[in-house]
């Protein structure tokens, strides 16, 4: 056990007691990165992966060691001067490279922004820094967050799953989950558009929170699907995740969609337990429904038993702690989450990508061009990888005037139906009156590298159980809940009503306590087994 394996809250506690310095904590984190991370992602795709590369995590694109050292020294100075160093003082964290941070490259894992340096820092990052946390670098993701495996990053090698390095870490916040899972940092800032925090958290055996839409400001987050994107914490414990949300959440004058509602004090209620809570299980979350690629008929497939069992076993433990488990909660529109998401997210993504045109910043083609349209075409063709191109094509198609009604507007109506499913079960005067739904986070555990890359539709079904929360805007949290037969982490998910993060944290913390002595809690990721 090294410093970097401790939780964020343990570290700040030790720091305040002057048992350890921020510089020492940082050094521990940098040592871990040096041991397990391997070479950072780069635009050079010509170098073959070595055997050593295949054993490493490759979470980072950009390291900010020098800035981190200055930040850590400042925390130490504050502590010795008796000043308040902030809630997360001295805690190292990584930032998904989709957030702009002043004076660092903000690449979005795309060639088109490879050299882009923003003159501003994203609000959630700014708030972490204000709270004394120490940023050690920017971590990899799927290009522009478009994917569920991180393999679509323009910066290769892409991240690998610390539990088994021949597996993907999930995505798109794969670098975040891998860096936390491998003990490189206790906290990471990710984003969740369809499950992009929760799915990699599940794959990497860590805690991932998708807050209520509007709980955390999107200012400085390079947009994918603006109406779905949520910044959120990745951590190793529920309490750490709660502390981080406490820091990054709240109203922001730079984001009109950030909620003006007051932030509750999450840590003050997190140990209150689940007695009397009503927690639902839904059959619609124990199967995957997908259209037959030829006929379009909806096909249905049950989830692997190991995953369903993990959820049911968690439900039993919560019941034993005094929660009431409500079975057979209908969530009939869950199955439409993915198709509706395909349409809405691509319409917004295509529009959000318009600005990368080679005129103002980022890549401009080096080819000669004699007219403006050629410059646009060459630049965008060279700068965007396959995933952005697919999203632009589909987004342009489904928002065209003649198709908009059939696709985009219809998708918006589906979105409303999904929202109503949730409203009905959380309604305090309704039939179910749930405090939360308990579901699996993902239909599978982490898949092998290259297994589904290129088959974008199948990869997207990895999000079927997470995307409804994005449509509805509600909060969700993924918790580690054991391993499958091949030793890969299984994640379970809690979904709550708008702004009930504190409830989800309470349930999550209760589940942690109920399982803290179980043997799976002691298993270390593969990349850490040698030391």
């Amino acid at each position: 056990m090294e410093l970097c394996d401790l939780t964020a809250l343990e570290l700040t506690k030790m720091l305040r007691k002057k048992e350890v310095s921020a510089v020492e904590i940082l050094q521990s984190s940098l040592d871990r990165i040096a041991k397990v991370d391997g070479r950072p992602g780069s635009l050079d795709h010509t170098t073959e992966l070595t055997e050593e590369d295949k054993q490493k995590v490759h979470a980072f694109i950009t390291r900010t060691d020098e800035i981190a050292l200055i930040q850590a020294q400042e925390v130490d100075r504050k502590i010795s001067a008796g000043e308040d160093p902030g809630l997360l003082a001295g805690v190292p964290f990584s930032v998904k490279d989709i957030f702009c941070v002043k004076d660092t490259c903000s690449t979005a894992a795309s060639k088109i922004l490879a050299n882009f340096k923003a003159p501003y820092t994203a609000t959630p990052v700014e708030r972490m820094l204000q709270a004394g946390a120490v940023m050690v670098g920017k971590v990899n993701l799927d290009e522009f967050t478009y994917g569920s495996s991180n393999e679509s990053s323009a910066f290769q090698p892409s991240p690998r799953n610390p539990w088994k390095t021949d597996r993907v870490p999930g995505g798109s916040s794969g670098g975040s989950a891998a860096s936390v899972g491998a003990g490189e940092v206790p906290l990471s800032l990710g984003t969740d558009t369809a499950g992009s925090i929760r799915q990699p958290a599940a794959f990497c055996g860590v805690v991932g929170v998708k807050p209520t839409y509007g709980r955390v400001s999107r200012y400085g987050l390079i947009a994918f699907a603006s109406s779905l994107d949520c910044p959120g914490p990745v951590a190793r414990t529920v309490s750490d995740a709660a502390a981080m949300l406490q820091v990054i959440g709240g109203a922001d004058p730079h984001d009109a969609t950030a909620s003006p509602l007051d932030m509750p004090d999450y840590l003050s209620t997190i140990e209150d337990g689940v007695k009397g809570m009503r927690i639902g299980l839904s059959p619609d979350y124990f199967r995957i429904t997908y259209p037959d690629p030829k006929t379009g008929d909806l096909l249905s497939q049950p989830l692997p038993a190991e995953i369903e069992n993990a959820v049911r076993s968690a439900a039993e433990k919560l019941a034993a702690m005094g929660a009431e488990i409500i079975e057979d909660v209908p969530m009939p529109n869950t199955r439409f989450g993915i198709p509706a998401y395909f349409v809405i997210s691509r319409v917004e993504a295509a529009s959000n990508l318009h600005r990368y045109d080679g005129v103002k910043y980022g890549l401009r083609t080096q080819q000669s061009f004699n007219d403006l349209n050629k410059m646009y075409r060459f630049t965008r063709n060279e700068g965007f990888g396959l995933q952005p191109k697919l999203r632009i094509l589909m987004g342009m198609y489904v928002s065209a005037a003649q198709y908009s009604e059939q696709y985009y507007r219809r998708a918006l109506r589906v979105r409303t139906l999904i929202r109503r499913d949730f409203e009905a079960v959380y309604d305090p005067r309704g039939k179910y009156r749930l405090d939360a739904l308990l579901t699996p986070t993902t239909p599978t555990t982490a898949f092998e590298m290259a297994a589904v890359y290129g088959n974008s539709v199948l990869m997207q079904y990895a999000d079927q159980l997470t995307v409804p929360a994005n449509h509805a805007g509600i909060p969700g949290i993924s918790l580690p809940a054991g391993f499958d037969a091949s030793g890969l982490p299984i994640g379970i998910q809690l979904l709550g009503a708008d702004f009930t993060e504190s409830t989800l944290f309470r349930i999550g913390r209760a589940f942690e306590k109920a399982t803290e002595t179980e043997s799976w809690r002691q298993v270390k990721p593969q990349v850490l087994q040698d030391f």
Binding site: F99, C100, S106, A108, L113, F116, A118, P119, Y120, A122, R218, Y219, G220, L221, I222, A223, A225, S226, S227, P253, H254, D255, A256, T257, V347, E348, A350, S351, L353, H354, R355, Y356, D357, V359, K360, Y361, N370, L372, Y376, M396, S399, A400, A401, S404, Y408
Partner: protein, 484 residues
């Protein structure tokens, strides 16, 4: 010859005179700023930044919508209008589409005899089809094969207002713009200066045989930056379309550009297909919720509008249309007039005469603001009363205007200080009259011989001796009595 009528619709873009831009805190006005010096990450569309709505833009747009008799939606949305252009940094313009701030509306446009084909004044109701808020794009300059882009104008708040195809002559189009400009300034929501592009106008023009109801293909005239140019361009385009149709040709849906220097229209492009802007709701902004409270607050001191006031001036004060027009051309002048009338209590036409002949010249020559003049409406009323009472004569009264404006003293005070009051003491005037008659034996003789018109000369001489302060009618009376 066939009788044609023109069908004209105007698309105007109105730059609102807010302090800051619509979605960021850059200054809205960049008129004197060098290129790309009034910009920020938000208006330049850098990755990750978000728009935040400037409420003052909504409030000014509500004032306009209300003035145009439009319905204000309690819930309206922003939408993205997607297209690529180098001076559009986000690749989309934030605008409003199907659920915009205002719905419907109209303007009852008075067309004066001078702008009427049969020289009879009439009113044309112009319907409003679209009234919404949007952000401006930047400016592109081409030099050879290079383009230079100035982003200063990005994010400047605009209202786009589109009329129905209700205008029938080039003169009506010009009248519409004159009235719109007047209204915008009256409401204090735009400088409405066409030369500075605060008010921009594109015109859609088609023709048809009078009596027909169908619409023929129209052309769109762009890049016209004065009201006269709009009138000229439309008139030329109507003539061209008539010539084409008479020659058996079809009118094609072209976009035409007005060339100010040569006074001609040039074809910019054919418009075979409508561009698809792939509108969808702007996810980065909340809908505008126009509560009754907010609306009432915005409209709480909504002014009487210029056309209504013009009508009232004619009705209430019995002013000629000409006077009413001038006295409602500008809100502050109009308020000044009415305040003077109230303080004076006498004949409003007299106030109008003084204002239009003398005060307005001072205002224009010296670039004064009626609201801030030292010659207040109360002071003007006082001068008029002094003249009415015979304390001073008209000439003295007129000379007081500038004196009050220069010194800020009250007219009473100046009259007292400078001894400008008329002498109406019979004895004092009689003494001067006798003096004049004694000094002018020849003229007295001529008068008595029958040349009675000399009375004016005698009065003038008395006035001269008394430095204009004599009550002229009293002097005349005394002179006539002495000359009997």
């Amino acid at each position: 010859m066939t009788d044609y009528e023109a069908i004209i619709g105007l698309e105007t873009h109105i730059q609102l005179n807010t302090t800051t831009k619509v979605f960021c805190s850059c200054k809205a006005d960049s008129w004197f700023a060098p290129p790309n010096t009034n910009i920020c990450p938000v208006c330049c569309g850098l990755p990750g930044v978000l728009p935040v709505l400037n409420k003052a833009v909504v409030e000014k747009a509500v004032l306009l919508a209300h003035a145009m008799n439009a319905e204000i939606r309690p819930l309206s949305y922003f939408d993205r209008k997607n297209y690529f252009y180098p001076d559009l940094p986000k690749g989309y313009q934030i605008s409003q589409f199907d659920q915009s701030l205002a719905k419907g509306g109209y303007l009852d446009l008075p067309v004066p005899a001078s702008a009427s084909p049969d020289k009879k004044a009439y009113t044309r109701r112009v319907s409003i089809w679209k009234l919404h808020i949007e952000e401006d794009a930047g400016k592109t300059k081409t030099a050879g094969n290079r383009r230079f882009i100035d982003f200063n104008r990005c994010g400047v708040p605009l209202v786009e207002m589109v009329t129905g195809p209700d205008l029938r002559t080039a003169d009506e189009a010009a009248q519409y713009l004159i009235r719109l400009r007047q209204l915008l300034r009256w409401l204090g929501i735009s400088e409405a200066d066409m030369e500075k592009a605060h008010l921009r106008c594109d015109a859609n023009v088609s023709i048809r045989v009078r009596g027909e109801t169908k619409f023929n293909p129209k052309t769109e005239i762009k890049n016209v930056n004065s009201i006269d140019a709009v009138r000229d361009a439309i008139a030329k385009e109507i003539d061209r379309q008539i010539r084409e149709v008479e020659a058996g040709n079809r009118i094609q849906a072209w976009t035409l550009e007005w060339d100010e220097d040569s006074g001609t229209l040039k074809k910019m492009r054919s418009k075979e297909t409508e561009a698809d802007y792939r509108y969808f709701r702007e996810p980065d902004l909340l809908p505008i919720r126009m509560s009754e409270d907010w609306k009432n607050q915005i409209l709480s001191d909504f002014p009487e509008l210029p056309l209504a006031r013009r009508a009232r001036f004619i009705e209430q004060y019995n002013l000629p249309e000409y006077d009413a027009d001038i006295l409602t051309s500008e809100r502050k002048l109009s308020d000044y007039f009415e305040n003077t009338v109230r303080a004076y209590g006498g004949d409003p036409k007299k106030v109008s005469n003084w204002l239009m002949n003398d005060v307005l010249r001072m205002i224009n020559d010296q670039g004064l603001n009626p609201e801030e003049m030292k010659l207040t409406s109360a002071a003007l009323a006082e001068i008029l009363k002094l003249v009415d009472k015979g304390t001073i004569n008209i000439n003295t009264g007129k000379s007081l205007l500038q004196k009050v404006q220069d010194s800020g003293k009250s007219p009473d005070q100046i009259v007292a200080d400078e001894g400008l009051g008329l002498v109406s003491d019979d004895g004092a005037i009689r003494a001067v009259c006798e003096e004049v008659l004694a000094e002018s034996p020849n003229e007295v003789a001529s008068y008595k011989a029958g040349k009675v018109t000399l009375i004016g000369w005698f009065v003038g001489s008395v006035m001269k001796k008394m430095r204009g302060k004599a009550d002229a009618s009293l002097a005349r009376q005394i002179l006539e009595e002495l000359l009997k």
